[in-house]
């Protein structure tokens, strides 16, 4: 994929979320801002046969996977026009027909599910690979270890992507997790583990591509740790715990600024081109909001539809 497209995708996530939280009706959101390169770099390595699962921090993954921003905004704002008919919200955003098997809001709750999807692919000889994004917060959970074990044992076509932003709500990973390098968690299972700079979309894409192709070739699962920074607090309902200096250091690693700078330096884009990209993205976000705002809320009777 053209690097300018990677930049655009990251910019879309950033602008989308900025517009979302500016609204009084934004609801309970976990933002991907700062971590765009993880989702975008990973999705650049996936094709239409693959499935992506995510944690509750789903906006970046959903948009990076190519879901229509209007539909995503509608889901976040509780409208029937969302892919989940407004019933899942951000924490359960899903569009399997578009390769986004879905978000699940239980920390680590999607890991064994992802392995099950991979098992189905393998059993039915489908060409797809399953990627599951989760945070460092899920790395202390038994589910991760159970998933690594069975994925290794059965050589499942599964890529585990740890979006390590160093914090689990307010708890720094050093206080929650014994291993310093989270990709080391895969080693006891014989699963390859790689750690990359999660703020460098090209590094994420390169690593993900290699591991996805390896899984697609039937050589089994892998663990990709992407060290990233989140630019907002854990959620819109959580206060920020980091001081100004820490935040400044985090923002200095902005993946959008970084790629923009690289493209400018390489002569691949100029200031006007960047401005055009931003305008394009802003227009898309504006369309998304207009679409979502015009969409109706579900009928209360839908509380009882699709239950069982």
């Amino acid at each position: 994929m053209d690097q300018a497209l990677l930049l655009r995708d990251m910019m879309l996530i950033r602008a989308f979320e900025a517009a979302l939280v500016a609204r009084p009706d934004h609801g309970f959101q976990l933002l991907s801002s700062g971590e765009e390169a993880v989702a975008v770099g990973l999705c650049a390595a996936l094709n239409a046969d693959d499935q992506l699962l995510s944690s509750g921090r789903a906006i970046g993954p959903a948009l990076a996977r190519g879901l229509d921003p209007g539909a995503v905004m509608a889901e976040l704002l509780g409208r029937v026009a969302g892919p989940n008919r407004g019933k899942g919200g951000r924490g359960h955003l899903a569009q399997p027909s578009a390769g986004f098997f879905g978000a699940h809001a239980v920390v680590g709750g999607n890991l064994t599910i992802a392995a099950g999807v991979a098992l189905a692919f393998q059993t039915q000889h489908r060409p797809g690979v399953v990627a599951c994004v989760f945070g460092d917060g899920a790395c202390g959970a038994g589910a991760l270890h159970e998933t690594l074990n069975i994925a290794a044992l059965w050589t499942l076509p599964l890529l585990l992507v740890c979006d390590n932003n160093g914090l689990s709500v307010a708890t720094p990973s050093a206080e929650a997790l014994a291993p310093a390098r989270l990709s080391d968690l895969a080693a006891p299972f014989g699963v390859p583990g790689i750690t990359v700079d999660g703020m460098d979309v090209l590094a994420v894409r390169a690593a993900a591509t290699g591991l996805v192709e390896r899984a697609r070739a039937g050589r089994g699962p892998a663990f990709l740790e992407c060290r990233a920074e989140r630019f907002s607090s854990h959620s819109t309902a959580t206060r920020e715990t980091r001081d100004a200096a820490t935040m400044a250091r985090a923002r200095a690693r902005c993946p959008i600024e970084r790629l923009s700078g690289q493209l400018i330096e390489a002569g691949a884009i100029d200031a006007a081109g960047l401005a055009a990209l931003r305008a394009e993205v802003d227009a898309e976000v504006a369309r998304a909001i207009a679409f979502a705002e015009a969409a109706p809320f579900p009928d209360p009777a839908e509380a009882l539809s699709d239950v069982g």
Binding site: Q51, G82, P83, N84, R85, G86, K87, G88, H92, A94, Q95, P96, S97, F101, G102, H104, V106, G109, L111, T112, I113, A114, A115, G116, V117, A118, L119, A120, F121, T123, Q124, G142, A143, E146, T147, N149, I150, L153, W154, S305, D306, V307, G308
Partner: protein, 329 residues
């Protein structure tokens, strides 16, 4: 075939009824796979899966490590992605380790995705006390019957194990199939031809006039034993086997209780928030003059100690005494 011709039946051990249902359905639908501990060459802890690996191969019959969260989660994900897994959880006590994927994902997947995903998963588990101790004895199906989106069934006979399991393996959503340790030593007549037992349909096991006993699982046999003894004392019991806890066939129980005027619920699980609490209250909502009583385990863990286990669990004598108290009240 004439309506009068009796259907051909074959007598099978309880485990064989399960194996037969699985064999038929796995032959019919190649999407069905079996995941569990010791289900392959070992054939299952109760030999209920004997022959399946030989017949269907190691891709479709897979032994799993002792990791119930992963067992259920894998089953859930595979079901959502197009297979029809049956996950065998040997002890219902350990189903608790798999409740996150079962309750938080499987039971909610269709709703939370607005209908985009369905989870045609069967979790089969064995409940009940039989000398194995506090963490190998529990009957907690009452906990699960209130989960929206989850079907819960509990056979008491080989025929119903066969028929309900077949229905479960064709169901569009997640089904929890709860059998019982004490059912495996039993044998029963099973239809020779394919028969599916529908969900939400109770069975009247014994017709009677003076009292309705509603039960499920192994306790149905205890109810029938109690009914035999009570018949000798001039008390006629109607014994209803619920078979399906969610959806619950209230109509059959309520109609019976409406006729007899007295309802005793019987379960091996706890009375608090138990199956009986739900059944009795729903019947009371229909008929406010029906006399109600519930019998269940003592509010204590069930020890492996035979004296203590026997003290905890309902038996025919206790049911007889409870019926007599109910009818006098």
């Amino acid at each position: 075939m004439s309506a009068d011709a009796p259907a051909a039946r074959v007598k099978l051990f309880f485990r064989e009824a399960i194996a037969r249902a699985l064999r038929e359905e796995m032959t019919r639908d190649e999407r069905i796979i079996l995941l569990g501990q010791d289900v392959g060459d070992f054939g299952g802890s109760y030999k209920e899966f004997v022959g399946l690996k030989a017949a269907f191969g190691r891709t479709r019959v897979r032994d799993m490590p002792v990791a119930e969260a992963a067992m259920v989660g894998l089953g859930v994900g595979a079901a959502a992605a197009g297979l029809r897994p049956l996950v065998s959880i040997t002890y219902m006590d350990f189903l608790m380790l798999g409740l996150d994927p079962l309750v938080n994902y499987a039971a909610k997947a269709r709703f939370k995705t607005g209908g985009q995903l369905t989870v045609p998963l069967v979790v089969k588990t064995t409940a009940g006390a039989k000398g194995q101790g506090v963490a190998h004895s529990q009957c907690v199906e009452a906990w699960l019957m209130s989960v929206p989106g989850l079907t819960v069934v509990a056979p008491s006979t080989a025929a119903d194990a066969y028929g309900l399991l077949k229905s479960a393996l064709r169901a569009p959503g997640p089904v929890l199939f709860v059998d019982h340790k004490r059912l495996f030593p039993t044998a029963g007549e099973v239809p020779a031809d394919e028969v599916l037992v529908p969900f939400g349909q109770a069975a009247v096991r014994r017709a009677g006039e003076h009292v309705t006993i509603a039960s499920h699982g192994y306790m149905v046999r205890v109810a029938l034993e109690a009914a035999d003894r009570l018949a000798g004392q001039g008390v006629s019991c109607e014994v209803i086997d619920l078979r399906s806890l969610a959806p619950l066939d209230l109509d059959t129980v309520a109609a019976s209780a409406g006729r007899t005027g007295a309802l005793l619920t019987l379960e091996e699980g706890q009375l608090t928030c138990g199956v009986g609490a739900e059944v009795a209250f729903r019947v009371r909502e229909r008929y406010d003059t029906v006399k109600l009583a519930r019998v269940g385990a003592l509010p204590a863990p069930v020890s492996s100690n035979p004296v203590l286990e026997a003290a905890c669990l309902p038996d025919a004598a206790r049911v007889v005494a409870a019926v007599r108290r109910l009818l006098k009240s």
